[in-house]
Symmetry: C2
Subunit: 245 residues, 2 copies
Amino acid sequence: MQSPAFILHQPQMGENIGAAARVMGNFGLRDLRLIDPRDGWPNQKAESVAVGSPVLENVKVEFEPTAAMAGLTRIYATTARPRGMEKRVLTPRQAMAEIRAAHQAGERAGVLFGAEKSGLPNELVADADAIITLPVDREFWSLNLAQTVACCAYEWRAGEDVSDDFEEISDPASKEDMDRLFVHLESELERAGFFHPPEKTPLMVNNLRSALVRGRFTEQEVRTFRGAIKALALGRGKARIVRDD
Amino acid sequence: MQSPAFILHQPQMGENIGAAARVMGNFGLRDLRLIDPRDGWPNQKAESVAVGSPVLENVKVEFEPTAAMAGLTRIYATTARPRGMEKRVLTPRQAMAEIRAAHQAGERAGVLFGAEKSGLPNELVADADAIITLPVDREFWSLNLAQTVACCAYEWRAGEDVSDDFEEISDPASKEDMDRLFVHLESELERAGFFHPPEKTPLMVNNLRSALVRGRFTEQEVRTFRGAIKALALGRGKARIVRDD
């Protein structure tokens, strides 16, 4: 799915532009636009902080907000403080879900971020379709520009289905393998006099099995553990068995 | 609900410790622990970047990982790259949901973050209950320490129910008010010859109403709009009416 444009209005510090480009790159966002950056463009500090982010190659720089919003059908304005406007206030999660739905319907959204100290001018907030406010603590309330961009970029990506990107545990052991492991362990423990007093054996066995099964072992790990049990059994008498139950 | 501890292992730059404290403060996290910070503690740069975050007042500094994990019952290790370990890999969202459930059951979790360049040592990852990997793009894969902490801190907070913190639209207009607004608008449009050809009037009225109702006006906004219609009607002939339907 196409990702939203992130638009920085009159950003002051190149470091923040670079950090925005870096974090956007990580989360699959590619469309960064700058409105009237204080120090002009290109910006050496931005490039250094962006550490090669592909976002910086295609950054668009405009002087007027309208030009920067070209091709977009809805705008979300990030603000930290209430503006006394009657406008929907969304969390990043709500906003990104809404943008996703809008993009599926053929729209294209942009998210506006204000300058470091002053934030967005009221007229840009007024023209936005909705406000995004991060769910910050009322006790301490001081996110910087790059952190705000990072949270919104993360939130965009976190809602994507990226489960295929992650490896599952490979070759999980079969239940038969696990059972053979348990039987092996218990027989060696029995021989070692671990189950004492005898009437407690079933309870102790259950506790052991229950703890081990939570580990969701692989085939290889079962082999490793069986090797370990064997080694311990052969070495019996050489090491003191410490029981902790 | 008590929030998880965030533990930075051998952090190098004071700026990153400060940025972590700043963003944690914003998202209601209060328990920051440092294992063997390179430049010792206290750190002037950390304090300057934290801009008064309450997190910095209570930071715990230890030399050994075990001491830093005091009081915690489960550990999540953040890693960017696969470690070839058979361990559950969670997104921040999955991990924070799991931590929330664990905390409800009386546990206390910690999230480990590695040093800037090297990440976490394998032995700390091996001892963790699960791995957290951020859902980064395989094309560009370079989050810094402070950004990783920011995303995890945001994710913790984003899952909290903070809806009470946000204002609803106040004094929404009643349906009668809206209807009076529509009738007013339509009668003026009728007088202005807007509804042309006449057989299209019902369709055009519906389109107008449908667009306006989506705005969920307040009482005050209805008054404002009615004033605007009145002004436009009185000014008729002074301005050219541009119709765009």
